[in-house]
């Protein structure tokens, strides 16, 4: 059953024919790649709400797309639209507003924020009610169509489905900080099963709002280097002290290789394998033996039908938390073995922060750019090596390398572990 349209397991090959990205570093692939390879940080002091007295007052926000006062889902939608426009333009697929396949979307859970609660509370000021009764009463008596259109769990997917004319239900997935990788996996699987010739996979996140920042802060997950925001994200360094929240989106147009070839599309790369594994050890921590992470990475490599020695570069999850970076190293050592000593591994989060639900998709696009440009993006702020993590992290400066195959890791709270293998065209 093998031919050049199928993999070694006889499944349709899944090509990437369009990619788009927006992060704190820029609004498209060109701007992002220039900044990533220059080792520039997009992390800065938060301006969109007062941070007086907070333990962390910085993030990698995207401030150039919408007005400052827009609620998180409005920016989440705008980021996704922007990245998807770039991806579809590049793929030149379908007619305007009619994407010929399903949408798989990684997006944060929907939740009203304080400005919305305050507005409702204010609207109910004459009701004589207090607390939630007053909010619900105000909701019933008023017209909140715009708020309603933003704060349902299906809101972001619905806006994208409307704009891009994707087919079927817009599928929104949450595997916490692995969501972006899972969205891509869902697209790959739909194409392999023959349900679709094309799929639009998007990851988007604009979670830098006050309550989200405080929640992560209360979990002691965030860096507190308030005096040096651009140096705060230090993956794999001995002096790393937590992650930095980031915003952004990425979109990939996936197609069966046969369909892409038939319409003469340019193939940018392939998603060769996807792997996942759930951890049941703890809500926010990995099993001490890293076995669930190992499982996800090993499954991805097996799924790609390659030996581990074929991995040329790892785009790490690399959050810059003490726990993650250590566990990721332990897992890579088990899966790659001796090959790890000659495999470069860098973390884009040193520059763009942790883009949460979007991270897996954003880092898949960065992996693709790494292959295309033959250049490894660095891990910046790598000043103090951690002797427990002996890795070639491409310290501080980008460097040229021939890369055929990339492993991209994504892990999340709730025992979520996912990995992708992305290959050259």
């Amino acid at each position: 059953m093998m031919n050049d349209h199928r993999d070694a397991m006889g499944r349709p090959l899944v090509a990437i024919t369009g990619a788009g990205i927006v992060t704190s570093l820029g609004r498209d692939k060109a701007e992002n790649w220039a900044a990533l390879t220059a080792g520039r940080s997009g992390i800065k002091r938060i301006e969109r709400f007062p941070t007086d007295g907070l333990r962390t007052n910085f993030a990698a926000t995207v401030d150039f797309l919408t007005g400052e006062a827009s609620p998180a889902p409005a920016l989440t939608i705008e980021l996704a639209r922007h990245a998807t426009d770039e991806a579809i333009r590049e793929a030149a697929i379908g007619a305007q507003g009619r994407f010929p396949g399903p949408l798989f979307l990684a997006t944060p859970p929907a939740e009203l924020e304080w400005p919305q609660r305050k507005a409702l509370y204010h609207a109910g000021r004459n009701s004589g009610l207090t607390g939630y009764q007053r909010l619900v009463d105000a909701a019933r008596e008023g017209d909140w169509d715009e708020m309603n259109s933003l704060f349902q769990f299906a809101s972001v997917g619905e806006h994208l489905a409307q704009r891009f004319g994707t087919r079927g239900i817009p599928v929104s997935v949450s595997t916490a900080c692995a969501s972006g990788a899972t969205a891509i996996q869902l697209g790959v699987e739909a194409i392999r099963r023959g349900e679709a010739d094309a799929a639009l996979c998007v990851g988007t996140d604009a979670s830098v709002q006050i309550e989200a920042l405080i929640r992560f802060s209360l979990l002691s997950a965030l860096s507190t280097r308030n005096d040096q925001p651009e140096h705060a994200s230090r993956p794999f360094s001995k002096d790393r002290d937590g992650f930095v929240m980031g915003e952004g989106a990425a979109a990939l147009v996936l197609e069966s290789y046969a369909a892409a070839k038939a319409r003469g599309a340019t193939v940018l790369g392939f998603v060769r394998g996807c792997g996942e594994r759930a951890d049941n050890y703890h809500r926010t921590r990995s099993k001490p033996d890293a076995s669930a992470i190992v499982g996800a990475i090993a499954n991805a490599i097996t799924d790609a039908c390659i030996p581990a020695t074929k991995i040329d570069y790892v785009n790490a999850h690399g959050t810059s938390t003490p726990e993650n970076d250590k566990m990721e190293y332990l897992a890579l050592k088990q899966v790659l073995g001796e090959h790890l000593t000659t495999t470069p591994i860098s973390s884009s989060k040193s520059m763009i922060g942790h883009t949460l639900s979007a991270a897996g998709a954003i880092e898949a696009v960065i992996s693709l750019l790494t292959i295309h440009n033959g250049m490894l993006p660095p891990t910046i702020n790598y000043d103090v090596a951690d002797p427990e993590i002996p890795l070639d992290v491409v310290p501080n400066v980008a460097r040229p390398a021939r890369v055929e195959t990339v492993l991209s890791n994504s892990f999340g709270f709730g025992g979520q572990n996912a990995a992708l293998v992305i290959g050259a065209p």
């Binding site: 007062p50 007086d52 007295g53 907070l54 859970p109 929907a110 939740e111 009203l112 304080w114 609660r117 305050k118 207090t130 607390g131 939630y132 909010l135 619900v136 909701a139 019933r140 909140w144 708020m147 309603n148 704060f151 349902q152 769990f153 299906a154 997917g157 619905e158 409307q162 079927g168 239900i169 817009p170 599928v171 929104s172 997935v173 949450s174 595997t175 916490a176 869902l186 699987e189 099963r193 309550e211 405080i214 929640r215 992560f216 802060s217 209360l218 979990l219 996942e276 594994r277 759930a278 951890d279 049941n280 050890y281 809500r283 926010t284 669930a292 999340g412 709270f413 709730g414 025992g415």
Partner: protein, 402 residues
């Protein structure tokens, strides 16, 4: 019929609702429950809710430290998932649990209403824009609550409490979440990607923050209880119902090898999204039905997931009335009239009820509006489960004898 071992069977059911704490109580309800429903019209007036039966959560969540980490929504789901795993003979089988995939339909956990009210009160007394950061939130929020609110933490807790670890995927999007979860598990098994999965969702209806979220779009039924069919003339709306529904789905070859008796077979699942302009919902459902494989002829139990929202529910009736053109004689039963609307958990609940009805060869009693729900005393071997989202998403599942 062609079967290469990839038939998708339902081999375990865990179901809790306002009408029962396990499958036995739900079967009793389906057999005898004419017009029986449990509704609270007072506590959240003018809204009704179907309050969840009293559960002893410790039966499925033995560790106090685990219980403390969860809000009600997660406890309901973890409890129902535990029932399903026991029912399918998987609970405690470490080797099998490591090969069992987890698929969850979820919204998010509850807010701490007391904290929110406190914060709103403080904010209303100050014009200082820095108050939220400086004084209010850091002292009001607590870390564990955040983990109770993340959508994927129902799945996370099922992994931790029950040990399901092959993979874990959480789908979101109100009713679409349930459609996506069921469809995802079904297609992966049918295609041979995986052999066994547990899939489902949960809703805690007794929450003011949940009512607020749905009333922003004026989606809730107000006033005294009425069946879903009887709400259309009065503006429509849904009544949230507390429920948790999980199903163990399994490839036939896998179920046969471990000698487990299946409830039923999922013949096919179809989902879609239309823009809900006039007539679009009816057309979308007709198109989805037309594409289902192995459509039955003769009497067909339709377990309608109609929510009562207008005009979606009226269009669903029109679709059901068109089924005779496909040779089916629909016997309609709206499970939302008795259980309430489960949003993310609604479609899984419909499939759970269909599994029970199929195994026990029973047609649920009619519950309200005798013109639409006609009495039927025979038995059917097929069921069609519908789920039309209150604002987006349409789905069908065809269930047959195993």
């Amino acid at each position: 019929m062609h079967d290469d071992g990839r038939d998708v069977l339902i081999t375990g059911v865990g179901l809790v609702s306002s009408l029962g704490k396990d499958t036995g109580e739900h079967v009793a309800h389906l057999c005898n429950g004419a017009n029986a429903y449990a509704v609270d019209e007072q506590r959240f007036a003018p809204y009704c809710v179907h309050p969840l039966s009293q559960l002893d959560f410790a039966q499925q969540i033995p560790k106090k430290s685990d219980l403390k980490q969860m809000e009600a929504w997660q406890r309901i789901g973890v409890y129902a998932a535990g029932l399903a795993l026991s029912d399918a003979g998987i609970a405690g089988d470490a080797e099998l649990l490591q090969r069992t995939h987890l698929v969850v339909a979820a919204g998010s956990g509850e807010r701490d209403i007391g904290v929110d009210c406190d914060v709103l009160d403080k904010l209303s007394q100050t014009d200082d824009s820095t108050a939220l950061a400086k004084q209010v939130l850091p002292s009001a929020l607590r870390p564990t609550l955040f983990l109770a609110q993340l959508s994927n933490m129902l799945a996370g807790n099922i992994s931790i409490v029950h040990g399901v670890t092959a993979s874990s995927r959480t789908f979101m999007g109100e009713e679409i979440a349930g459609l996506a979860a069921i469809e995802n598990a079904f297609r992966r098994i049918a295609a041979g990607q995986i052999d066994i999965a547990i899939v489902g969702g949960a809703l805690n209806a007794e929450r003011e923050d949940l009512l607020l979220g749905y009333e922003l779009g004026h989606n809730l039924w107000k006033g005294s209880y009425a069946s879903v069919w009887d709400r259309a003339g009065a503006g429509g709306g849904f009544i949230p119902g507390g429920m948790g529904a999980f199903l163990v789905l399994e490839a036939r070859a896998h179920a046969t090898a471990r000698n487990i008796e299946p409830y039923a077979r999922i013949v096919d699942v179809a989902t879609g999204r239309c823009d809900r302009t006039g007539g679009a919902t009816q057309r979308a459902l007709a198109e989805l039905y037309g594409g289902l494989r192995d459509k039955p002829t003769g009497p067909l139990t339709v377990l309608s997931g109609a929510s009562g929202a207008a005009p979606a529910t009226a269009e669903e009736i029109a679709f059901i009335e068109s089924l005779p053109s496909h040779g089916a004689e629909p016997i309609v039963r709206a499970f939302g009239s008795t259980f309430g609307h489960g949003v993310e958990a609604h479609f899984p609940t419909g499939l759970a009820l269909a599994a029970l009805a199929t195994r026990h060869k029973l047609t649920p009693k009619a519950t309200g509006n005798a013109e639409i729900e006609r009495p039927f005393t025979g038995s059917t071997s097929n069921a069609l489960v519908t789920c039309v989202g209150h604002w987006r998403g349409e789905g069908l599942a065809l269930i047959g004898a195993a």
